[in-house]
Symmetry: C2
Subunit: 221 residues, 2 copies
């Protein structure tokens, strides 16, 4: 019946998963809100089955909670979970920095230098929006540059649970935070370039902690 969507997007489920996940991460659906199988099925003009399977997957990703016979709800990380997520973030990014440092000359290093150049410009121009994008790209480059797919996958899962992209802006709203953050990025890259893995990890971890502090300060305001 509704079936014939062009092969353009590939499988129906891939589309559903990507779109619904995006909505949760981008905050279009609030935590705690219920996601009705039926409503989404009608909206996307598919049956409940693929929607159900999408929910199952998002549940194992930690983005929704399925309460049998009651409904499916967007999860809201508890205070404790947020702490744990940041602990993991610090852990993984620190490790990624070290791994990247050990790899020697790889394309990601050039991209990081380019990122820093543009970040300096954005900070000088006080363009917070642009700088937030560059911060995301920076961390992304560190992770991808570690060249460990498992690490990358677990990292992405964690960031999704944190809805991190929405948080960056908050932490950067603290006075002086952008320039401080930019300096820390420079330090990290410098240590990576000099192949000092241990120090790179240490400084990266300190940077993550600082960013977390700025975020919490921003939230309290």
């Amino acid at each position: 019946m509704g079936g014939n969507n062009g092969a353009s997007t590939g499988s129906i489920q891939a589309r559903l998963i990507a779109e619904i996940r995006r909505r949760i991460i981008d905050g279009e659906v609030q935590p705690g809100m219920s996601l009705s199988e039926l409503a989404l099925a009608e909206e996307f003009d598919v049956s409940r089955t693929p929607v159900r399977e999408t929910f199952k997957q998002l549940q194992t990703e930690g983005l929704v909670e399925i309460r049998p016979r009651v409904g499916t709800f967007v999860t809201a990380p508890s205070r404790r979970e947020i702490t744990e997520l940041f602990e993991m973030k610090e852990l993984l990014e620190g490790a990624a920095a070290r791994l990247l440092a050990q790899r020697g000359r790889v394309p990601e290093l050039d991209q990081l230098e380019e990122n820093l150049r543009q970040a300096d410009i954005a900070v000088s121009a006080d363009d917070r929006q642009r700088y937030a994008e560059l911060v995301e790209e920076f961390h992304e480059l560190i992770i991808v540059g570690a060249d460990n797919r498992k690490l990358e996958g677990h990292y992405r899962t964690l960031m999704n649970q944190l809805a991190y992209s929405r948080l960056v802006t908050t932490s950067l709203s603290q006075p002086g935070r952008p320039s401080q953050s930019d300096r820390e990025h420079h330090n990290v890259v410098e240590l990576i370039m000099s192949k000092d893995g241990d120090s790179a990890e240490q400084v990266m971890r300190e940077h993550v902690r600082a960013s977390r502090r700025a975020l919490l300060a921003g939230l309290r305001t």
Copy 2:
């Protein structure tokens, strides 16, 4: 990730997920083998639907691969993936050791000491089977003792992908490895007890690397 094992739904699916996952981890179904929806549905006397949803979950856990229109297959980690998994293992266990050291006096420390006592006995008696169990419990205690649920969840996912419990025996089959391993365990616990987080992490990581080397040597034989 999905920490939801056991009785999350208490229903048919919980049983399916637990049982099929167990079969994969215990190696009852070989990597590469196909898992037929229909066959499993009939075996458990349910319809294909819950089996399908089980596959979906196991896929995001990295235990099976669903090839559309072809079948669902037990994944066999590539050489590269195994390396990556061990890198993650080293990372997470090292971090767990540090976190545990920072926590002060917690019940897990007593359990670790008891574990070491029994391990000493098993090593003296050259009881490899028993020692293998104790090794698993040791690592489990370190992870749980870190008191970070996210870390624990991600760790479990990784170990499942490695089918680690089957590998322990192999690595312990190396001559002298059990007593060496036992000594390393003692060192780690000692550093944790003295609240030296940094050193605990470092030694724990070294221990993981050593265990990996022993495993690879055992596989080559």
